[in-house]
Symmetry: C2
Subunit: 363 residues, 2 copies
């Protein structure tokens, strides 16, 4: 629970009476307890010195303790007001907060109203940036989990390549990938994408009954969860053969991906990386077809801080993990995206995903 | 888009200048456009008379139009402030809202601050209850989709029963279920649960490598998505044989499920149904082992309004779909939950899930 101690030190430094953490991923980060509470209240209330507490549905209290939460775990049931339960736990510590840090990008207006109704004079402050600053630097323990998650993602891409056959649908292939990962006892970190032919050119397309044909390019975008940490990889392969136009797009995207990876080092700005990849694509004449940012932070969440986009001045530092995923989407030729997970190291960069970036042509 | 017209009529009646809808499920309800925007802004801004607009990531604009959105679709890219884009679309209609209805249970504090920064004098009102009131009554078109979703859930339970074998793991069985649904071209509506033996007694347990043994009870909790609408079913079956203690729990839960179903009629309160089921379980001596509410509303969301719990005075009316899912969790005997999806009809009730509730013993 050293992360909680770091948070408590922050509260002291900023003279904040309490912090209330409600994002499930942040609750996991501070407690080791992974839970999807749906509409029910889940949170950690931390103080400068007093014992923190976890508030969660009553039936999950044993799970929280089993996950390693060693402070008070306060349960609530559907027939009581969870905010009254929170207020009681706070006042049992002799505390009436006059300042409270919340996750403004997560806490809803309704929930803030519930809190403010109980502490009408409380000053509400933003906790988000402090948590970003903590989560953005991965410890060696976290990196070990992310390496494992990436290894499983590489494996999933191989399963996908092996599964491709002319006449099979996107869903058939997706199914084989997810079965193989489940058979190993793991879960995907987000909804797997297998997109064939013209569908590969839709960056947020939905896999369906499109049959794979000779000459298609097939785009895989997938990730695996390992002990609470995500991977996220994209590879695009050709079926039977690749046309010159497809090869040209593929080569351009690969060069953009590698140019950005080679530029990663402590201190480089997110927007500089985006520009390096974008310039390669623009120079090849596909600038209008790279319609999204270069990447995003990765860790407990699939998309987390920082965003690797052309407007973000954030300097990347040692221990930050993020994706590099340039793409070119031309429906009449192919959509190609190549995505790797990388971590900034003292020396420059470590690439976690290792599946080949040579153009794979499935025979 | 008759639902949008109904919302516009509400704005007129309540003298509200605008409504901003940001829950992805509500955006789908009003637009037919299903999207998971992750951290990006997705929303519908509606006015009393002016043309509503959809704000979404630029690359999803074509998807929104393809899904049937027939009004203005405003795209935003990662390098611009999405709230400036919203403000521009509002002012292009010659509107400066002095009152604005938001989903207080969804909109974050940060997002409200972005809006209020642009309209400092705006009065912020709660839209949640109006949307609940609309969504809680399913149209015949919606009910048709939910019947199909329930039929697929029944099928998934049958696949699960057929897959059970001593020595297989929970994940093996889960895998066969999900493969069968994917092979039909559908997706699950939430993470499938297959829990064996003592694990069946954990209402929010996570399937893993627990092997199925003779004498176990196995609990399935799953649902399938059909054209945007969810089903949610639970069945518990015995492997090889069922002990008298297991049979007694099963019979109690079944009687609780059926007592509540038989009591469903227009006007009955949510808490009355909860009590009817709970009384059956309490009288059988298992009151302390039924640790959750009776059920929840069901539709576009797996958990939606209304909550069927002992403190909810909401009167159920014709067209409302919800789950009835009593359970008894005794780790030394078994966890048993039996869950059906029901709709309130003029005559009383229609049960959408039809898989048998006789105790299935897998030989």
């Amino acid at each position: 629970m050293t992360k909680l101690k770091e948070l408590q030190a922050y509260l002291k430094q900023e003279k904040l009476d309490a912090a209330f953490i409600t994002t499930p991923d942040n609750v996991f980060y501070f407690s080791g307890f992974a839970s999807n509470p749906h509409e029910r209240l889940l949170g950690i209330m931390a103080f400068q010195d007093a014992e923190p507490f976890l508030i969660c549905p009553q039936m999950e209290v044993p799970d929280a303790i089993a996950a390693g939460w060693s402070f008070e775990a306060v349960g609530h049931v559907d027939t009581e007001n969870a905010w009254d339960v929170v207020a009681k736990a706070v006042s049992s510590r002799g505390i009436v907060p006059t300042s409270l840090a919340i996750e403004k990008a997560h806490l809803t207006v309704e929930r803030l109203e519930e809190l403010v109704a109980r502490y009408p004079d409380v000053q509400v402050e933003r906790l988000d940036d402090q948590i970003h600053a903590m989560r953005v630097i991965k410890s060696e323990t976290e990196l070990e989990k992310m390496r494992k998650a990436a290894e499983l993602a590489d494996y999933a891409i191989q399963v996908g390549c092996d599964a491709i056959e002319v006449g099979k649908t996107e869903m058939d292939v997706l199914n084989e990938i997810e079965s193989a990962i489940k058979a190993k006892g793991y879960a995907m970190s987000f909804e797997t994408m297998v997109l064939a032919g013209e569908k590969s050119a839709s960056p947020h397309g939905v896999p369906g009954n499109r049959k794979i044909q000779h000459g298609d390019m097939v785009l895989f975008d997938l990730g695996v969860l390992y002990e609470g940490y995500c991977s996220d990889i994209t590879r695009t392969v050709a079926v039977g053969e690749a046309s010159e136009a497809q090869k040209h797009i593929y080569d351009t995207v690969r060069r953009a991906n590698e140019a950005a990876i080679n530029a990663v080092k402590p201190g480089i700005l997110a927007r500089e990386l985006d520009k390096i990849a974008r310039d390669v694509i623009t120079e090849a004449g596909y600038g209008d077809y790279f319609t999204h940012r270069l990447g995003h932070g990765l860790g407990i969440s699939v998309h987390e801080f920082p965003s690797i986009n052309g407007a973000n001045d954030w300097p990347l530092t040692t221990g930050t993990v993020f994706t590099i995923e340039p793409g070119v989407y031309k429906a009449d030729v192919a959509g190609v995206r190549i995505e790797d997970d990388v971590v900034v190291t003292k020396e420059g960069v470590e690439v976690l995903t290792k599946f080949t970036k040579d153009l794979v042509i499935i025979k």
